[in-house]
Chain length 329, copies 2
């Protein structure tokens, strides 16, 4: 069975797809009435909203698929904004000819990931385009959450500490390998994971300033943007940044800098010096944060991001013109 | 200037696109910080959320374009759900090679339509895919609104009245003509419009039961779904349904039934007999509702939707297997 144009028509075929694939896996009462909108309730005064379209190529990769990624990405964007993720909407654009079996695998992992992250998929939409007008499947997820902490680059002060929650560059490397046939045997998998259970315990720390999940553009881009918004400098210690040997090796081979490679299950965190050890302890007590490290500090000595290399040299990290590895999310 | 892969990279080109095109037109303070999520506030206890991806072909058509449509569609879905539309997120998927000028026209009309509808565009995302992996531009909009009326098919009772707010089939006909070169000269334009200012005054009527904007599948599909959910029958009087002569003529020529053609600026409304005249009066006082008509009634005499033809015959309207005109939204 394959997706046909009629599956996006709003008629009987659409309804069959909704019932046999979407409702089978997305088992939320809010979704059941299938009206034009769903009703949700939020108890916080302030609500966070975020949207992302996922166009990753290939759609299945070691460690995940476009469906899992679409839930993780949106859950993580809400979390790093100081919010508890609650509800997610899902918009599918499907290409005529997509095997229904693939769609079902994708939907199944969206449902599993949403369950793991404690978010509800509450409303959705499906469009089908002709063969050659999409790359199998594109997914938009929009997430809504309850804001519990106001986080902002402007909160930070010189002396604050930079923490990363684990190894960087895994996702970008895994996608790169899945895409091109480099004939390299490797264990590298995407780190794609929902980070809310790891990060929300940090909300209790007074010294928590800012967080970001360094996806497109990687750790370097996230910190450059932070330093620009905050008007401060960031000093990073190269030897403290957790990067797997395999990622270093492959990056070198194909000419990427792992600091600019996408991550889908990591966060970079700015926290006061006082709360840094406590933050690290909280992170390390969680499986997704066991490799967390303090990798640098906020300074007023300069603007921008400088990397102190293992041999004591300094390298300024600049925003790239464009990503060397497009469509990684 | 054309869209390049780098515009979706998250690097400097993406930032330029955001600043020079998106922020230029989407002038909302919530959007300015460009963090991963935006903060909004909703005062209602119950929040409506809806999502739609727009893949319409062609992207410019008489009466609108994909951008205008993407705002109208989401505003209308919230409104017919009994909500006041408040905030909208926008996710763009752009094809490499799309003229920047076209993107800017689309963004401009999104901004204009949002302003007209009184909704704020608060967060967004841009992805770029390679040439041949999209049809120029796809847009997802997700809308959030304050629920002020609980509307449901189950609210309806036999004797309730069916109202349509104006001529049906204009959008589907306009798209069909814009797509194929039929060499017909016509004035038919898409009815694409935000309906919140037309419909929200109806929320004050106790007898308001249910509303729907009959897009994909048209008036017939909307009412068939209503009758199934409500467990009642709907009797429609063919001669009461406003359909332009040109739409009838073109539909006949190309073999469509205008009752199944998409509308993007119309609503079908179920209201108590008692409040029907008042509803009609409210609708007719608004430019978008001046051609509103009572077109039928809810009955317990049968299930499903029956059309009473002008010569007194009866025709049962059935859900179509698939839409004869795909990608109309």
């Amino acid at each position: 069975m394959r997706i046909e144009i009629g599956h996006g028509s709003g008629g009987r075929l659409t309804r069959e797809l909704i019932e046999k694939v979407f409702l089978k896996h997305f088992d939320t009462p809010e979704l059941k009435p299938l009206q034009d909108a769903s009703c949700i309730s939020i108890s916080a005064e302030s609500i966070a909203i975020t949207t992302d379209s996922y166009v990753i190529r290939p759609r299945f990769f070691p460690g995940g698929n476009i469906g899992k990624l679409s839930i993780c990405g949106t859950v993580n964007d809400l979390t790093v904004s100081g919010a508890i993720p609650k509800y997610i909407s899902v918009g599918f654009i499907l290409e005529e000819g997509l095997p229904l079996e693939e769609l079902e695998k994708i939907v199944e992992s969206m449902a599993e990931t949403a369950k793991r992250a404690g978010v509800k998929i509450v409303t959705g939409d499906t469009k089908v385009v002709e063969s050659g007008k999409c790359d199998g499947i594109y997914i938009n997820t929009t997430g809504v959450g309850e804001v519990v902490r106001e986080l902002s680059p402007q909160n930070s002060e010189p002396g604050d500490v930079v923490i990363v929650t684990g190894y960087v560059g895994d996702h970008g490397t895994a996608i790169s390998l899945a895409r091109e046939n480099f004939e390299i045997e490797t264990q590298i998998k995407s780190d794609c994971a929902p980070l809310n259970s790891l990060l929300t315990p940090l909300f209790e720390l007074d010294g928590l300033r800012w967080m970001r999940d360094p996806t497109r553009g990687g750790l370097a881009t996230a910190l450059i943007e932070f330093s620009e918004s905050a008007g401060v400098g960031v000093k990073l210690y190269e030897e403290k940044i957790p990067i797997r040997e395999e990622v270093k090796f492959i990056s070198e081979m194909i000419g990427y800098d792992p600091l600019y490679l996408a991550n889908e299950g990591k966060a970079v965190i700015i926290v006061s010096k006082k709360d840094a050890e406590r933050a690290l302890e909280i992170l390390k007590s969680h499986p997704l944060g066991k490799d967390a490290e303090i990798i640098g500090e906020v300074t007023e000595d300069f603007k921008g991001v400088r990397l102190i290399t293992s041999i004591g040299g300094e390298r300024r990290l600049e925003l790239l013109e464009e990503d060397p590895l497009p469509r990684i999310c």
